[in-house]
């Protein structure tokens, strides 16, 4: 499968010194990019070129580079994680682009995700939502119960697992025209609400997580469905509907 085809591309990348300064789009030319390289490897190549010419390299988030950590972000050519479906940016390869293409690379745009530097945004608002209720309280002082001792219907276990596949990358917020975080919060609420272990704290969980979500300045969901399409983990809108139900029942309890 290996092809040795190389392409030359133009890049329009958001540069911003720090959270306080105003940023702008800068244009770069990068030659001899292997179509087998990942998008992040292409950025590494560009950074080498910048460093070799005594210029500030571009700051971008990355960690596992195998699509499971949720660290890499990037709004590429008008789509979260670029044009490919159900992949993170580290799994996007340069074979998705053609020789001579101009590629826009921008950070996630959301009031709740302020830019720290260049393409890196602060996603700690997601952490604070998780801390508000995205957990189960378990006594771990030596008397934990074996997880398999609690029977869980297969259907529920599967739905919970699908919701738990969320890696918290923020592509849903970035793609949503309203900057809403409901797919993320819906997945986190669902993952626990579906399991007997999570039912104990279900009422407080959904109320607290939604309150925190609203406080962080995320927008309101209008069911456009962009999040579901752009989610690298294929999290379904069903999770938002489940959160809506959970919230309704929790509110009238």
């Amino acid at each position: 499968m290996a092809s040795n085809k190389n392409i030359n591309i133009h890049l329009k990348i958001w540069r911003q010194k720090n959270a306080k300064t105003k940023g702008s789009i800068e244009t770069y030319k990068l030659d001899n990019v292997s179509t087998d390289s990942s998008f992040l490897e292409m950025l590494d190549q560009l950074n080498e070129q910048l460093i070799n010419t005594q210029k500030e390299p571009i700051a971008f988030d990355h960690d596992c580079r195998e699509g499971i950590c949720g660290a890499c972000s990037l709004y590429i050519n008008g789509q979260a994680h670029g044009p490919a479906s159900q992949v993170t940016t580290c799994q996007l390869h340069m074979r998705s682009f053609k020789d001579g293409d101009t590629i826009y690379v921008e950070p996630w745009r959301s009031k709740a995700f302020p830019v720290i530097k260049d393409l890196i945004v602060d996603r700690s608002s997601f952490d604070r939502i998780q801390q508000a209720g995205g957990f189960v309280s378990v006594n771990t002082s030596g008397n934990t119960i074996d997880a398999n001792a609690t029977p869980v219907p297969k259907h529920d276990a599967d739905r919970a697992f699908e919701a738990a596949a969320c890696i918290g990358c923020g592509a849903c917020v970035a793609s949503c025209k309203n900057g809403s975080a409901m797919l993320f919060v819906g997945a986190k609420v669902s993952q626990y609400a579906l399991l007997p272990q999570g039912k104990v704290e279900a009422t407080q969980r959904v109320l607290n997580m939604v309150r925190q979500m609203d406080e962080e300045g995320f927008g309101n969901c209008t069911n456009t469905g962009a999040c579901e399409v752009e989610c690298p983990k294929g999290i379904s809108l069903e999770n938002i509907a489940r959160m809506n139900r959970e919230y309704l029942f929790a509110s009238i309890k």
């Binding site: 789009i25 709004y75 050519n77 025209k177 995320f218 927008g219 209008t222 509907a241």
Partner: protein, 284 residues
């Protein structure tokens, strides 16, 4: 805490938007059923009979207490739906202070879903102008005409006012002062000054003349049809969206909701649009 959140939280706003939206969908069905009576002349009914039936219906809709309650719920729903929509739109604009230099939303969403606020604003303008043209006339216009019919009495056509008890009052006698009209619809005996009969406000005539008037009949017909197309797009996203907002999302019946929504958003506005088209182009 739950009480204030139930009004203000992002999810509560969804519920209100969905509930008022779905109620307005029901209103559309009721309103359409009433309006379709304007097509009665298609079924070989005489214009006078069509007018009478429509005006009787209009009288019922403006006086029946149950309908009155429903109409107030409708006004409140429209206001709430619009205000909630404006608040949502403003908050959502704030949630993304800097826009993307390159964005391709058409890759992941349908056009209607991204433009609900614009579509809704057009519909609101339509509703206001529609109410000024018909609703306000029916309720407040001092010069609202009363329905008359022409009957051939002894070979000479004569005009009569139709009254709610099924009777007739010759227009000539009213013009001569034998009867007087008070409170817009009540016929009084000219001498004794007692109320004897009640007439029908001629909303049928107002409607027909609105779409048949010489200069503006065609532009009003076109604007009406365009507004219905806008309504169709608004419903195309809104109908299914309301169910999702209320938590009704299950693979078992998602297809059904989607198809009913599609059908509703095409059939209802289309039937509404047929009425002015018929009046302007076909009705004699």
């Amino acid at each position: 805490m739950a009480k204030s959140a139930f009004l203000k939280s992002s999810i509560a706003k969804k519920y209100w938007m969905a509930l008022t939206g779905l109620f307005l969908c029901l209103f559309l069905v009721g309103h359409l059923a009433g309006n379709l009576q304007l097509l009665a002349t298609l079924w070989h009914t005489t214009p006078d009979d069509a007018a009478l039936h429509f005006n009787q219906y209009a009288l019922f809709m403006t006086t029946n207490p149950a309908v009155k309650i429903l109409s107030y719920v409708t006004y409140i729903s429209i206001l709430f739906h619009a205000i909630d929509g404006i608040i949502l739109t403003l908050q959502n604009k704030k949630a993304r202070p800097i826009n993307y230099a390159m964005n391709k939303p058409e890759r992941n969403t349908i056009w209607a879903s991204r433009n609900m606020a614009v579509l809704g604003t057009v519909i609101l303008v339509f509703i206001v102008s529609h109410m000024v043209s018909f609703w306000a006339k029916m309720h407040f216009d001092e010069n609202m005409p009363l329905q008359t019919i022409t009957i051939n009495a002894g070979g000479a056509p004569q005009e009569f006012y139709v009254t709610t008890d099924g009777g007739y009052i010759p227009k000539a006698q009213v013009d001569q002062g034998a009867y007087k009209i008070h409170d817009r619809t009540s016929f009084y005996d000219g001498q004794a000054n007692v109320k004897i009969k009640e007439g029908y406000k001629d909303l049928y005539k107002i409607t027909i003349e609105f779409f048949k008037q010489p200069t503006y009949g065609l532009p009003f017909t076109i604007l009406y049809v365009l507004s219905m197309i806008v309504l169709g797009f608004h419903l195309f996203h809104g109908f299914g969206s309301a169910f999702q907002s209320l938590g009704a999302n299950n693979p078992k019946y998602n297809g059904l909701i989607k198809n009913i929504g599609k059908g509703f958003s095409i059939i209802v506005p289309a039937l509404f649009a047929i009425i002015p088209l018929y009046i302007h182009f076909l009705l004699k």
